[in-house]
Structure formats: C-alpha cells, structure tokens
Symmetry: C2
Subunit: 338 residues, 2 copies
DNA sequence: CCGCCTCAGGAATGCGCTTTCCTCGGATAG
DNA sequence: CTATCCGAGGAAAGCGCATTCCTGAGGCGG
C-alpha cells in the first residue's frame, strides 16, 4: 500500500506538499509541483489512509447505525431514510446488525465509539431488561459526554434524540377497528415478549378492548419472533386452542403475512371467516391477497428524521418526535361471520 | 474522549502497561496493576481509538460490502449471508449503497480502500459501460496488489473471486417453461438496459425462444428499474400496445409483483387469462396471490460464499462459483387461454 | 541599492496506540 | 556472598497523515 511518503519521494517533493495537494488544503502549491504530485498519485494508485487522516485531524465524519437486521423490511425502510440524509450530509454510514442480541448491541456501541463515529443511531425496539438497559444507557451517555451525538428510533428508555412511533396509539386504532367491526373473539400474534415494541402494542390493544367493554386474555396472545414463519406458527397454535376466533391481530406485517399463509393452508377464508390485520404497512402489505388492513408507519421518514436529529449541530437538548400511526383499511378485515 | 494516556495517568502506570491490559497482549502484568488499570478504564469509560490501533498495528479487520441498495430484498438476502460469515470470522462489516450510480460505486471503492478494509465484496449487476468498467477494474486490481481481497457477486467483468448466478440458464429455464406451456405472445418486463443482469437474462429468454422456434421481438420488451412500481408500469405499456399477450415474464420478482398488481387493476385473471413469472424467488414470492412461478436463486447462500472467498487467506488464484438457478412452479403460470 | 514583506516549500511535531528495547529489582545458582 | 538470569514495568520509536512553524527566495518601496 503506497503511502504519502512514497508519493512525495516519487514526485520529488516533501510530504507536506503532497498532503496539501491531495487533501485539498487552502495553502497554495505551484502548478508545476501540483501536477507532479498528481501524476505520482495516479501512477502509485495512492489512496490516503483514512485512519491516519482521522488520527491527524480528528474530524469525525462517519456515522454508525445499529439495527436489529437490515434485511428485515422494517429496518430496510428505516435504513433507507437514514442513508438518504447521511448522504446529503456527505457522511459515510456504518451499518451494524445486532440480530436482537443485547450483548452484541453493547459490543457494537463500543465498536462504533472506537471507530470515532460522529453519531450513533439506534433503531429498533428496546428490551425489558433493566440491567442491560442501564449498561447501554451508560455507554451512550459516556459517548455523548465525549462529544458524540445519539438518536434512537422507538426506544424511549435511552438518552439522545428520539423518534417514537406511536405504537400504543396505533395498536389502539387497529384494535378499535376490529372491535368496532363486531369481533368478540380476537387472537393476537405478537413479537418477542422482551421487546418494548411488543408490549407497547399489546397495551394499545388492551386499551381498545377496554373501550369496547372487552378484555384481551393472555391465552389469546401467541408470541413469535416478528418473522413471517413464526406468524404462521402462532396462528396455527392459536387456532388449535380456540378454533372459533374471528380475528387475528398481528403485531407486524410479516407475521400477518404468515397468518394469511397459515389460514390459506387451513382453508379459512379471509376476511369471510376470519379477519387478519398487520402493523407497519410495509410496501408488500398491499400486494398480498387479500391486501392487508394495517397501521401505517412512515418508516423511511422516521429514519430520515432520526438522522437529521443526529447530525444537527445546534442540538440544544434532546429533541423528540412522536410519529403518528394511521389506520389503513384494506381487504383483509371485515365483520365476523354470523 | 479519554485516551490511553489519561488512563495511565489515573492508574499511575505507564501507557505501555495500559495498552497491554486493555488490548489483551500476551505480556504478563501483575494482578495489582491490572486491576488498577481496569478500574481507571471503568471510571473513565475508556474505549481505545480504533483508528490509532489500526494505524499502530496495521491489521485489517473490517470488510467492505458494496451493493446497489440494502433495502432491496434481493440485496437484503445477499447481505444477510455476507454478514453471517463475516460475523463468524469476527469481522466488522461496512455496508455501502451505490444506488446504481457508477460514480458513487467508484467513490465507495476508494473510500473502502481508505478505510483499510481487508476485503471488498461487490454485489449486484455490472454495467454496460466500458470506460467505467475499466476504471473500476483498475482500482480493484490496485487494491488487490496492495494486499486486499475482492469478491464479486454477479459481475463477470471484474477481478477477484466470483460468485455467478446462472442468469442466462435460469432465464432459459423459465422461458422454456413458458413456451412449453404453449404461450406464443410473450412480453418481457426487464430491468435497466445498461445492467448485465438484464441482458444476460434476456439472452437466456431468447435462447429458449429459439429452441421453440420462436423469436423475442424488441417491441415486446419493456425496460424498468427492477422496482415494483416500474413493473406495473411496464406491464401497462406492454398491454396497451399488445393487448393479446398471454404471458408476462418479469426479470425479477419485484417487477412481477408489480405486474400482478397492474393485472388485478385491469381485471385480467392470472393465470387464467395471462401468465406471470418472476425471477430470484424472494421470500415474498410465495405469499402473493397467485404465488409466483419463478426461478430460485439461493441469495443468502451466494452472499455467504462470496464472503467466504473474500476472507479465505489461502487464496491461490481467483476462485469462481456458478450458482445454478432452479425453476419453481407455483400458481401464477399456466397454459394460455384458447 | 538595501531592507522588509510576502509567499511557497520543507522540517518537525503530534494525533493515540502498539511494540520493541531497555532497565532494574529480585530470585537463583555457584 | 556474589554473579547471572529472569521477568515485569517503563521509555521510546514508529504507524501515516495534517499542520504549524521556519526558511529562503523573490518582489516591493524607499
């Protein structure tokens, strides 16, 4: 790997001159020397060592993004928004996947700090785990004290700027819709129980139930991992225990799609015999059959906002946005059969 | 930001000792000093500067991944495989999105080199652009000469290890299937014309046509951007020009899903009146209605292979794998109406 | 014609860390 | 009791670059 010194030697100038030419300093360099340097750079295919540069001038330019899994459409959308804003600011984005492992999440925050990123954006649900949350919050605060900026999406328990999807309210609106349609026996297929997203959404559902004079018994909640296949499994187990459910409320679209598949395999008509609803309104929600009734979260926009917060230099105290969730009625919901 | 020197001062030891404790050197340090150092690290929330470490010990640990767009399911799947292997090797992955902009692709390769990554994996179609290809190949070769390892997925024109999906053969098999079903008027909705993936797949289709004594006229090919919406648009324009097409062959699943949506809006039954096929077999292909007949590419596995190649230390010459594509018959295809 | 100012180029320092090399005290052997 | 060895801790060099400071040459005014 060619170094700046190599270039200097080849061009017959001092390292200082090469540095000035290569990294566009405002110091003037004669055209003669400049072209000699440029030629040497070309011949050597020289690329400055970013780490050395960073060490020497200490300007933090990269930003870190920590999500559960980019290949999950939910995070893919958020990441798209995150990236767009980062690119507009000329920032390099380092994406890390925790795969919902708290340990790994902690490790990645350290790693991102070590990489001297200017900002860290944490996207994805928090955990019901006080010790872990405290440890993570501590690390994040230390990072902030050292000049870093942090933004979180959907995690109220952490320091930094926050973009909060209205999980509880969104779940309320979909629960309200289902009860209003006349459903009485409603099953819920949920994500991991340790995630705050899961419990927040269930809380919204419970509030809707109460508003309609009903309750949501624990036996009608099946927990999965937010994945499509676990949605199918959860649906099967719920139906095995209570075949006469008239609605399945999924806590995200992937699980709802799994539910649709399970129901199709079982030969149960949707929404004729049973209603299915999702959450998030991923792009694919409108292309499955029947098209999913769900709650829309502007995922890309949420990502963009979070990155905007994180990159905002004049951050006077932590900012917070609550993102409203809008009910989207499509073909997968209807009144219960009589 | 606390530095190693700060820790040394606080613990009352030399920087060398701190370094030995913190980065787990094999040099022995007395328990007494070790615990003092650890305490200081804790109190100061010290995290070593990764750039300084990298500069000092020059071991490259991160790897770079350059894709068109992680939020595209195609790349999301590939990336998942890439990441899995990278994690197994204890590597940090830096993901960059070129958004199909050749300029940006070039810039990111430089950036990745500057970051001193141990390997660069390029995933996604190549371009029909000789000047660009030459420039990119040159940069990649320079990177290889300086000790970097490169692997590409689906880009024959570049140096390095290669994982090649059987685009031509896969397209042949789906074309063969469609002609075998008896279709005579077949429309194709394709990705950008400048991408080799597009032309390779069309070539396979053409070969299938020839094998059945048919041809694939240019007017029956509509180009889009591989996105869902452009699939819908392409379908509409194809059908507007030739309403009596009996099959739409999409060059990827996203466009096929768009076609399905357009056809539904047009009230044309699939596959009763018109057959639709996809390509890639993304997870969602089985959940749309009707389930997509498509060609299966083991995307995650391809990613895993590419990363394995890239990280293989004993790389004796470039390795190459061709990934077979398997026809998957589902509900969206059938014989043409008589 | 001389002194001063301007400006381009180079020498040198430091960023935060690892690692080699040196030092010094204690332990061991003679 | 002294010579030698061993091992733990510290001093210092160096990784590749940016940047400050210094130097020397040319241009200007007096």
């Amino acid at each position: 790997m060619a170094t700046l010194a190599d270039v200097a030697r080849r061009a017959g100038v001092s390292p200082a001159t090469v540095s000035r030419v290569v990294s566009g300093s405002d110091r003037r360099v004669t055209e003669e020397l400049r072209s000699r340097v440029l030629r040497a750079v070309e011949e050597l295919q020289y690329v400055p060592n970013a780490h050395a540069q960073l060490l020497a001038r200490a300007d933090r330019t990269a930003v870190g993004v920590l999500v559960h899994d980019v290949s999950d459409p939910y995070f893919a959308e958020i990441t798209r928004g995150l990236q767009r804003v980062a690119i507009e600011h000329g920032r390099l984005v380092i994406i890390c996947n925790s795969y919902r492992d708290p340990e790994r999440e902690l490790a990645y925050v350290e790693l991102l700090r070590a990489q001297q990123v200017a900002a860290i954006v944490l996207a994805g649900s928090g955990y019901h785990d006080a010790a872990f949350t405290k440890a993570l919050a501590g690390k994040l605060r230390a990072y902030e004290r050292s000049g870093g900026s942090v933004a979180v999406i959907g995690r109220h328990e952490l320091p930094g700027h926050a973009v909060m999807p209205a999980n509880e309210a969104g779940a309320f609106s979909i629960g309200d819709e289902v009860y209003r349609l006349g459903h009485r026996r409603v099953g819920v297929i949920a994500g991991p129980q340790v995630l705050t997203t899961t419990t927040d959404r269930i809380a919204g559902l419970r509030r809707a139930a109460r508003a309609h004079g009903r309750t949501l018994p624990a036996r009608r909640i099946a927990y999965g991992d937010f994945g499509r296949d676990s949605g199918a499994e959860a649906t099967e187990s719920l139906l095995a225990a209570e075949p006469d459910l008239t609605a399945i409320v999924a806590l995200n679209d992937s699980m709802a799609i799994g539910a649709l598949a399970a129901l199709r395999a079982l030969g149960r008509a949707v929404p004729g015999e049973i209603t299915v609803t999702g959450f998030d309104d991923m792009p694919i929600a409108q292309d499955v059959t029947p098209a999913l009734t769900t709650v829309r979260l502007p995922l890309e926009d949420m990502g963009a906002r979070a990155m905007t917060f994180a990159l905002d230099p004049r951050a006077t105290g932590p900012r917070a946005d609550t993102i409203p969730a809008a009910l989207v009625r499509r073909a997968s919901s209807g009144p219960p059969p009589n």
